[in-house]
């Protein structure tokens, strides 16, 4: 491990990679601050740039930097404008915005920055401990278990989609999976489902799909319903916090880093769930008089979600780096970028390409430090980006999505596919279908079929399902994950009706 750390330090401290961290964090902060643009759209837009770098560690470092930056930037607009740019920072606005209204915007931003820093750093420490352990276990896995594990991951994503959303999330996952089967795969050397169209021979473009699913609908929503971006024109000053305040938030940060990290590790439960849960837990265990403060500008109420969402971002790298299975839309995009760079994340990553693994971990520390010492003093200036008129902003976002799709495939037909999918994705968003499962399914589809085919061939049929206890166990878990939430909801409802309680409360 020490050797790995040194390799990581050496790679991460090269001038190019340091610039990548700093650049990524700044770009992420800038764009993450704009309401309506989440980390997934930003990373999707940045992928062509990252891929053309040609160096996997630099690309991953850049994209990871963009990811933290976006979360940090999102919390800035939550605090200053009550307009969260990212779903994971919605909980930060509960107490951050009231603090800003009281004229303590500077203090709120400092607390957010310190909490993010601590959450991210502790999360990276936990990642350093758990990822190697998990990947040594993962080396024992057979392709049957990999297949089962991916089924578990996909059903967990559906199960965490929320009440009444599980079937919709499942449809989207399956849609992603069938889109992954289009084109010519290495497995059979046969074109499948191309309907004779030459452009579909190589399948759908992953970047095009990522742009069409996230960036385009978000931009269209901004056009359809302009968000009011008028903040209080107060100056951001007084960035210092007192010793008693630091003492008050220290235990919160400690608890939430660990909790957030482990929530982030679970597939499907990302920064958003971690931040809401962190907020709820801290409110429940706070003393009576402090509970009253929550929602009115409590520093604990701000520190909890901020720590939790950053720790969860780090945690979501665990399944990506050790199993090669993304648990969230963002890590799915990162996985797509890595595959494009000819790196296959998984348990072998740490052995075959240790410099990538450790450099990413090291860059997490550096990235968090950059966010703390570089972004915090710059925040008053960066916040000026909120003043860019939307008349300019939206055409530029659209232009960058078009460029990304074009650069990825070098093909103008891709742009038409992008627009068509973007319109479909917007319609799906209107109808409240979750879009991230589609992309995760699309990315996992190929790997899932490969592993499925390999185990079918080894066992000459589907008998691997019951002959390997671990595979069977994982598949049972997957089934339970999908069925249990709807069963529980049904039972709760029938109970409520039996007691004569009205529905809907």
């Amino acid at each position: 491990m020490l050797e790995g750390l040194l390799i990581g330090l050496e790679t991460a401290f090269s001038l190019k990679n340091l610039l990548m961290v700093i650049g990524g964090c700044l770009i992420g902060t800038f764009i993450g601050m704009l309401p309506g643009l989440g980390p997934m759209s930003i990373i999707a837009i940045m992928i062509p740039v990252a891929i053309s770098l040609g160096d996997a560690s630099a690309a991953l470092i850049l994209l990871a930097g963009v990811y933290y930056g976006a979360i940090f930037g999102g919390s800035t607009s939550s605090i200053l404008l009550n307009a969260p740019g990212v779903a994971g920072t919605v909980a930060s606005s509960f107490d951050g915005y009231p603090m800003a209204r009281k004229g303590k915007a500077g203090k709120a931003l400092t607390i957010a920055a310190i909490a993010s820093f601590a959450g991210g750093t502790l999360g990276a420490l936990l990642l350093m401990v758990f990822a190697p352990a998990l990947s040594s276990v993962a080396l024992l896995f057979h392709s049957a278990e990999y297949f089962a594990l991916m089924v578990v991951g996909l059903s967990a994503i559906a199960a965490f989609a929320g009440t009444g959303q599980i079937a919709k999330a499942m449809i989207m996952t399956l849609l992603g999976l069938i889109m992954a089967t289009v084109g010519e795969g290495a497995l059979f050397n046969l074109p499948r489902f191309t309907m004779g169209i030459m452009d579909l021979q190589s399948g759908f473009g992953f970047i095009t799909l990522a742009m069409a699913m996230f960036a385009l609908p978000e931009a269209l929503f901004l056009v359809l319903k302009p968000k009011d971006l008028k903040g209080d024109e107060g100056e951001i000053k007084d960035l210092r916090i007192s010793r008693t305040e630091a003492k008050a938030i220290a235990p919160v940060i400690g608890r939430q880093s660990v909790q957030g990290f482990f929530i982030g590790v679970l597939p499907g439960a990302g920064a958003t769930i971690a931040s809401f849960l962190g907020y709820a837990v801290e409110r429940n265990i706070a003393p009576k008089e402090e509970q009253e403060e929550f929602g009115k500008g409590s520093i604990k109420g701000l520190a909890a979600p901020e720590t939790a969402n950053n720790a969860a971002c780090t945690g979501s790298f665990v399944p990506l780096l050790t199993l090669g299975i993304p648990g969230s839309g963002t890590t799915a995009i990162l996985l797509g970028a890595l595959i494009a760079l000819n790196v296959s994340p998984g348990p072998r990553l740490m052995i075959d390409e240790p410099q990538i693994f450790w450099a990413v971990i090291m860059s997490m520390f550096i990235g968090n430090l950059v966010l703390l010492i570089l972004n915090l003093p710059l925040i008053p200036y960066i916040a000026k980006v909120l003043a860019i008129p939307r008349n300019y902003l939206i055409p530029f976002i659209l232009f960058f999505t078009l460029m990304g799709a074009y650069i990825g495939q070098n093909n103008a037909t891709e742009l038409l596919i992008l627009v068509a999918f973007g319109v479909c994705a917007t319609a799906l968003k209107f109808a409240d279908y979750p879009l991230a499962p589609l992309l995760i399914g699309f990315i996992l589809g190929g790997m899932m079929e490969d592993n499925f085919a390999r185990s079918m061939q080894l066992y000459d049929g589907v008998s691997f399902i019951w002959e390997r206890p671990m595979t069977l166990g994982l598949l049972v878990i997957a089934a339970i994950l999908v069925v249990l939430p709807s069963y529980r909801a049904r039972r709760l409802r029938s109970k409520a009706q039996a007691e004569g309680v009205a529905d809907g409360d």
Binding site: G164, A167, L175, I178, I394, P395, L416, L428
Partner: protein, 160 residues
């Protein structure tokens, strides 16, 4: 019928068509030696199509009750929003896609970046045109020179 069920119906159609191809037409021209394999190119799609049809039927018949929640945009009153602008921008994107090759990158991109703000109601020419032209040249330089991806800068008839 609400939009989410209409969409489920459309997706059901997609899954059924996909399933039809996987179950009935795909295997016809499979090479004989591949037929002895335990896995065929159609095996995985067959499983997916069945699961997809089941999931669509669950949504279509509303078997899974969901709580009505306030949507960000109510699609029933789309005309209350800036629908015209959105459609115009989408049309602009399609035109851009069709023009990018024949008209060259510089011409089509600056037109896109000028027409975009016009659609959204911007009339400040003094800022709009310089911003669009600068952005076009910067992006062209980055893509062409830094990333090394060829983009025809000018239309063919002036030698681009």
């Amino acid at each position: 019928m609400a939009l989410d069920r209409w969409i489920a119906l459309i997706l059901l159609g997609i899954f059924v068509t996909y399933g039809y191809a996987a179950w009935f037409t795909m295997d016809d021209n499979l090479a004989p030696f591949m037929r002895r394999n335990p896995i065929w190119p159609s095996t995985f799609p067959k499983v997916l199509s069945v699961l997809g049809v089941i999931a669509c039927l669950i949504v279509l018949f509303g078997l899974e009750k969901s709580e009505p929640k306030e949507p960000e945009i109510d699609y029933r009153r789309l005309t209350d929003y800036n629908l015209g602008q959105a459609i115009a921008l989408l049309a602009l994107m399609v035109v851009y896609a069709l023009c990018l090759r024949p008209a060259g990158f510089i011409f089509s991109t600056s037109a896109f970046l000028i027409l975009g703000p016009i659609i959204l109601g911007e009339r400040n020419w003094k800022i709009m045109i310089p911003v669009a032209l600068t952005a076009t040249f910067v992006v062209w330089y980055l893509v062409q020179e830094v990333l090394g991806i060829y983009m025809r800068p000018l239309p063919g008839f002036i030698g681009g």
